[in-house]
Symmetry: C2
Subunit: 235 residues, 2 copies
């Protein structure tokens, strides 16, 4: 079964590819797709984006937009959408009201161009997600290079999205990441994640990170995601 | 041999525990220790911080401050300090001037309280680093919980710091992370990393993430760091 916002109320936290079909309050919500090109994007990521958008025309690939709104960053808003699957809400966790209202998805928490700039595409026949990623200047590790944690974050996000598209809402259970070469800061790389195996509630996926021309392999990783049990607490 | 800023010109990118002994330009540099308590810190992390500072009094533990200055975030500044070990500088990578001047260490890139708030302590006899970490509202994954990538980032930073303190400047080669339970957003956790084995240029370390009371194990991880060869490019 393919997910929709109706049967998958938690999809928002991974970046649901479909805009909200209805508003959850009387407030007017202005949606913005954060995966579309913006002025901070380099020529490399723009060309790749156009290339994959062209691949979408015959239906073999699907562009996965990421909608945010003024209110969509707020945990309270997300909580409203996810009542059943996340028994312990931010409020239950005694977050200060200020922290609660300030909560943002990590990979979309920076201003345009400074952090994680990316767009994802899904191939259903191949159970594969490709992520075009440009790591901004705030993601630095060794001077001039992307932080290993920022790369791990995008691997988690890409493989996690693939697991969601294949069959449901998941939590990361394992990431095993082999760093082969350092990724230059502000360069564009391509993450490629695909489903290797499904075993009950477990989804095993692999993910690699390559240069735009495919000649440099920066990272190889495997991952395990577990489908959430709506009757169990996360903590 | 213990590291000093003089024999370890790259220490700055992991957060060198000692302030700069000399200025690298005529500009007056105002240092600020980002690891000290600030108003965003909860009672939990303040108490733990005081507890470990007390442990430092007999010399068994060492507090590792993290100094930043107006100019210390800049890659150009870091490049000046690391000419030999990083043959490919940000300038060589054709970063736009704006990106270059905006470069920030990922784990210190957020405003106070929004992202990574942490302090580290080192025990030389045990070859162990403890990191007290409070993940801010911008590090969200599942609503109300810390993003797996943010946790991976702090594991990389803590184990990496332990590897540096043990013997030199390193790059992450592998992170293998088992997520046991989701970490509530804005809560305080304790990362504990220690050296398991040294093999030539390879340092094997383990790291776990626990609740403040030690009753909840959130994450178990192993890692491999490789000492940098100053004669080789990173890419």
């Amino acid at each position: 079964m393919r997910l929709t916002l109706e049967n998958d109320p938690c999809a928002c936290w991974r970046g649901d590819p479909r805009p909200a079909q209805r508003s959850f309050s009387s407030e007017k919500v202005t949606l913005k797709d954060r995966s579309l090109p913006n002025p901070s994007w380099s020529k490399d990521i723009r060309l790749l984006f156009d290339h994959f958008m062209k691949k979408c025309e015959d239906g073999s690939w699907e562009y996965l937009p990421f909608y945010t709104s003024k209110s969509s960053h707020k945990s309270q808003d997300l909580k409203t959408r996810c009542p059943a699957r996340l028994p312990r809400s931010p409020t239950d966790l005694n977050l200060k009201e200020e922290q609660n209202s300030e909560a943002r998805l990590f990979t979309r928490s920076y201003e345009e161009g400074l952090g994680f700039e990316y767009a994802m595409f899904y191939n259903d026949a191949e159970k594969r997600v490709v992520c075009l990623f440009q790591g901004g200047p705030y993601l630095q590790g060794v001077p001039g290079y992307l932080h290993g944690g920022a790369a791990a974050t995008m691997i988690d996000a890409t493989a996690g999205m693939c697991a969601i598209m294949v069959g449901g809402i998941v939590m990361t259970a394992n990431l095993n990441i082999n760093y082969k070469r350092a990724i230059p800061l502000c360069s564009v790389v391509v993450l490629n994640s695909q489903l290797d195996k499904l075993e009950g509630r477990k989804a095993f996926l692999s993910c690699n990170v390559q240069s735009v021309d495919g000649k440099t392999l920066y990272i190889e990783a495997t991952s395990l995601f577990v489908k959430l049990d709506p009757n169990k607490s996360l903590t």
